[in-house]
Amino acid sequence: MMEWYDSAFQTLEGALNFATLKNRTIANNIANVDTPDFKAKGVRFKNVLHQTLEAKRTHPRHIEFSSEDPSQKYQTYTKQHTTYNHNGNNVDIDKEMSELAKNQIYYQGLVDRINGKFNNLETVIRGGK
């Protein structure tokens, strides 16, 4: 079933998953904007260094370092370099809101593109009828 995807399809699907996870992470940061000692989280694409740091498991039942699917190309991380306010919370609400807006546009663009690809394929299949 999955053979007829060119790499653009796979990229688009992966990007949609990334954008959805990012939206959830931002929602959690904003909900916890006043929680003491809460550290904001973000989502980023894994680079090679992070991929090699996954736990080398000798048995399938050993637990991974992170709780996420290791074959994903992205991961959640804890934001370290922001300043804390007096109760140990480091959520920068303005940054989170702007990330939210950017992510929206990103997601809508991805959906538009995937629809475009589907429509193209449909035109080809119907042979122009």
Binding site: W4, L16, N17, T20, V111, F118, L121, V124, I125, R126
Partner: protein, 101 residues
């Protein structure tokens, strides 16, 4: 597009025919039947995957809505492809049957 064709029709009808290799009518019928069946089987798989995802979504077990929508759309495309190919194959078959009479 070739990828889609190959996916639905595993038999490769694009081989060049030289003068010697002829196919008897019985074999031709067999080949067509197999192609149709393969197309229907692949369609069935696509539908099943989409159905399972839709059921999981209805039961609240899915994480990503776009995943469900994309899977459904892929099943629809596979269906459309199969329908078109079946139509073309049947047309070609009828054409060939007409020729022989």
């Amino acid at each position: 597009m070739n990828r889609i064709l190959h996916h639905v029709m595993p038999n490769d009808f694009s081989q060049p025919t030289n003068g010697q290799s002829t196919v008897s009518p019985a074999k031709a019928q067999d080949g067509f039947a197999k192609t149709l069946k393969a197309a229907i089987d692949k369609l069935n798989t696509a539908e099943k995957v989409s159905d399972r995802k839709t059921e999981a979504f209805a039961n609240g077990q899915i994480d990503d809505l776009h995943d469900v929508m994309i899977t459904a759309q892929k099943a629809k495309m596979t269906l459309e492809t199969s329908v078109q190919i079946q139509q073309k194959v049947i047309d070609a078959y009828n054409e060939m049957m007409r020729m022989q009479l």
